[in-house]
Amino acid sequence: MSEHAHKTPFIRKYIFSTDHKVIGIQFLMMSLFFMIIGGLLAMMVRWQLGFPEKAMPLGTLFPDKLMPEGHMGPEFYNAVFTMHASIMIFLVIIPILAGAFGNFLVPLMIGARDMAYPKLNMLSFWVAVPGGLLMASSFFTDTGAAATGWTAYPPLSAVADYTGVTAGQSMWIGAVLIVGTASIMGAVNYITTIINMRAPGMHLFRMPLTIWALFITAILQLLATPVLASVMGMLLFDRTLGTHFFAPVGGGQVLMFQHMFWFYSHPAVYIMILPAMGFVSDILATFSRKPIFGYKAMAFSIMGIAGLGFIVWGHHMFQSGMNPLLGTTFMASTMVIAVPSAIKTFNWLGTIWRGSIRFTPAMLNALAFVSTFIVGGLSGIFMASTPVDMFIHDTYFIVAHIHYVLFGGSLFGVFAAINYWYPKMFGRMMNEAVNTVHFILTFIFFNLTFFPMHMLGMAGHMRRIADPTAYDFLKPLQPLNEFITINALILGAVQVLFAGNFIISLFAGKKAERNPWHANSLEWVAPSPPPHGNFETIPTVYHGPYEFSVPGVVEDYLPQDRPAPGGAPSHTPSLSTARA
């Protein structure tokens, strides 16, 4: 196998590769690249909100039209916050979770040599890249990038005159369509692979929760993304060909956009968190040296969250003037989602309860995930209650919620996952001390940045405004805005530690063993990094991935391809193990 890999020319091996691991790493690099851009945009947003009257550092580098003398005008501000969110959602979180980790982990963790359709897999990456570039390059058009918020509500988005943005908004729509196509291709591949390519003995209920989460996520992507495509297509026609799907003047329905958009985008928020929930489950079990608490309950609550996720979209629209009876149903269904979410949370706590915890950076980030997800989930329940949401809708309370679930949840999950699987991906260890410092600082400054936003929201601070000092009633809140901005800038700066560690460890990190964390799932059976084709021989699976500290086993872990001594706890007839 490995001699074969050496002969592959560079371009086939690293650029147009069909190897799921290379494609996963490509998605990882793409997402991290866009994360830098999205992060810098966030810094600009925060500068403007904290110090609207001061010229932005380096602001003079921008063309005068956008930033006269380094001051951001409201039009440019709209484009900046819109693109921050759009990039983070469509080009960072979704591709890094499903694209990067989905690709890298699915075949390895189920014991397959590759995806069912490696070429389709490659195509999905090479469709995503131009989509991303199309979105980012809209900044350089005459009238600038999309400026309607990532939700692109018409009529604002449907008529170019309202924002003054012509090409940029249409490019944004095109990019969303393209990236969506890529993610459907990925989803078809993941679903087929997980159903059909599992190693012998890998029953569905022996799959790691990471795989369960990626599987359900793929189903969400498969079913929700086409609806986004249809609504974005109609929006594009409204903009370019003069149709009136969403314009009341021609019989169109503005609210219909919101319904269809959220029919996609609420499931999409679960696309953005379920994989991270999977990673965290595996990481917590590994570093607590205990089986996951309530494995089946965990798998079923992933399904429950995903299923319910399709019937709660209206909670984004309580203020939109939809039928109040409908609003009440959406309120009820939304609150029900808290049940499977709570099951997961209690099971995570049950998993670490009295475990022999090892505080590696991966574990620390996973613990941060659990704690911030609790805060984000609780703020979600506030907002799910219609009367409360009437008050806090479209305020910084929502922004706080978003960031507790997406940064505090998804992104801490990503940090945990990178820390955990980096040795497998690159064959080297990251520096743990640096990543521990990075974690501590990120956790502190994350909370200092985003927690006060709850208070801003309660005080009525609207989201999506360029200059809080323009409103008298917000003036007393300005010191809080400045405080948030300073912390946000530090939070941004701290990420350099992680980026530096990531890059330097690629070359100078300690060589990784096969199974540095003494974990059980199949990716740790393969060499680090695994060669083309992954396994020397396809492993046979004897039990689930959470057999930690099994009585009667000398070590405190039992890889899935090793039968338990003295009668395996498995239904598979005992075959001889391929690996010693």
């Binding site: 069909t18 397959a112 040599r113 590759d114 069912a116 359709y117 490696p118 070429k119 389709l120 459907i184 989803a187 078809v188 591949n189 679903i191 087929t192 159903i195 059909n196 390519m197 599992r198 190693a199 012998p200 890998m202 498969l222 079913l223 929700a224 993304t225 086409p226 609806v227 495509a229 249809s230 609504v231 297509g233 109609m234 026609f237 060909l241 003069g242 149709t243 009136h244 799907f245 021609g250 019989g251 169109g252 329905q253 219909m256 319904h259 269809m260 083309h532 084709g533 396809i538």
Partner: protein, 197 residues
């Protein structure tokens, strides 16, 4: 779809369906959701209007629509006979089935184009009313699928010349056939929604 680059499981798929059929079904679910989205929009827009079709708007040519529905159904039947012949190792009948299906598919697309031009001639402009826009967008999205489908069928017919069918070809034809039946099935549904309701 191509076969696997690297052999998968030593003992065949873990699930009940082979990869290519499973992947096609999964993919077609996404296609279904696309049309559900579009038809959902149609329903919302329709019930928002006091009258549908709006007064003064030319009506759809029901006869042509019905005839075309028959065309695409016949095409599916021809294809299905071809696929059954393939299972019985009758390569000539397979090729006949593919060719008939593809020609009928081409006829379907051509008649759709004719229908559009008739409607445009009668003044049903794309952007004029939501009635027209939904009709054109939905039938257009479907026509794009039908176009892909009949070209694909035609390509299969041209490539299948030998008296035997390779495994890879057999898989491709099965996938193509599933896709084409999907296109036909969606059209029947759209016919009901667009012309009859």
């Amino acid at each position: 779809m191509e076969s696997m680059a690297i052999p998968g499981r030593p003992d065949g798929p873990a699930g009940a369906l082979p990869n290519h059929r499973l992947a096609t079904f999964v993919f077609l679910m996404a296609g279904t959701m696309l049309f559900i989205g579009l038809v959902g929009a149609l329903i919302v827009l329709r019930y928002a209007m006091p009258q549908w079709p709006p007064p003064g708007v030319p009506s759809l040519p029901l006869g042509l629509g019905t005839f075309n529905t028959a065309v695409i159904l016949l095409s599916s039947i021809a294809l299905q006979r071809g696929v059954r012949a393939m299972r019985l190792l009758d390569a000539a009948a397979l090729r006949r089935g593919l060719t008939f299906a593809s020609v009928l598919g081409a006829l379907f697309v051509a008649l759709q184009a004719l229908q559009w031009s008739i409607l445009i001639g009668r003044g049903l402009s794309f952007a004029g009313t939501t009635y027209a826009s939904t009709f054109y967008v939905i039938s257009g999205a479907h026509a794009a699928h039908a176009l892909t489908g009949f070209l694909w069928l035609g390509a299969m017919a041209l490539r299948q010349r030998q008296a035997w069918v390779t495994d890879a070809m057999q898989r491709q034809i099965e996938v193509c056939a599933l896709f084409w039946h999907f296109v036909g099935l969606v059209w029947v549904f759209l016919y009901v929604v667009l012309y009859l309701l």
